[in-house]
């Protein structure tokens, strides 16, 4: 494929984001429990927490960007 498309075969390499999006979020649910909600603190839990923090930061940054700029001290 050309430069505009990069292809990745999951049997050779898989990014954590693709893995988490599928293995933790999709697929058949047998027991009805969501493991992540009762997980001990571990690498993935910390990783997700970092992602959540990052999302919040992004949302705060977006909110700041949408804030109207400060009004002039006195309108003419």
């Amino acid at each position: 494929m050309g430069d505009a498309v990069r292809t990745v075969d999951p049997s050779e390499h898989v990014a954590l984001v693709d893995l988490v999006n599928r293995v933790l979020d999709r697929g058949v649910v047998v027991s009805g429990s969501v493991m992540i909600s009762v997980a001990d603190v571990d690498l993935l839990y910390l990783g997700l927490k970092l992602v959540l923090t990052s999302t919040e930061r992004i949302e705060r940054a977006q909110a700041r960007a949408e804030e109207p700029p400060a009004l002039p001290p006195s309108a003419p």
Partner: protein, 225 residues
Amino acid sequence: MSGLHVYCLTAGAGPPVGLAGIGGRRVGGWSAGGLCAWASPLDASPAPDARLLRVHHDVVLTAFRDSAVLPVRFGQWLPDPDALATWLEREGERMRSELERLRDTVEFGVRVAQREEEPHAPTPPRHEQPEPREYLRTIARRRAAKREGLARRDAVVGRLSSAVGGLVREERVVPTAPGDLAAVAHLVDRARVEPYREAVARFFQRQAPFCAEVTGPWPPWSFVA
């Protein structure tokens, strides 16, 4: 008796002898309801980490290489084999129907990004107080830029859907990772994998400044009902 961590379901094919799963435990096949569940005996549900997710993924891929498979979400742990057999008997018909629907299909993920940063209109430093008219223009520019960004995203996803539509059975919009503009999952017949890849490549060669990372073939994670 130990509990079971379940990896996936097949229509009957069991795991190869010697396949190791989470914790190095043997992956065995538990059959009931016309299904075979690939599972490892574990005393408790494993806490997820990146390494265990990859082990789970590898077991599902092993099943996927040789047969139709329904991937099971990580963390599905049952307290004993009887609980698994009960679930397989209860859900057997629905799961067999899903296996049949997804037979000979694979999933591809397409993450769309924009190559170069769009030039931004210069904004005055925060400490400078804009004139009222400039203040309103700034708001209007920001709102317009946001609308345009969303419209570009919707347009590129729509054009991609049209370009590969004849080669894709189903499409799901999936959550985007930071830095991505859009992400979709496509369900594709195994026999159409190469035409699909070529169609996606052709499409993005004409879509500058957009580019894509295509991952697959995956088991049909995003299409299990």
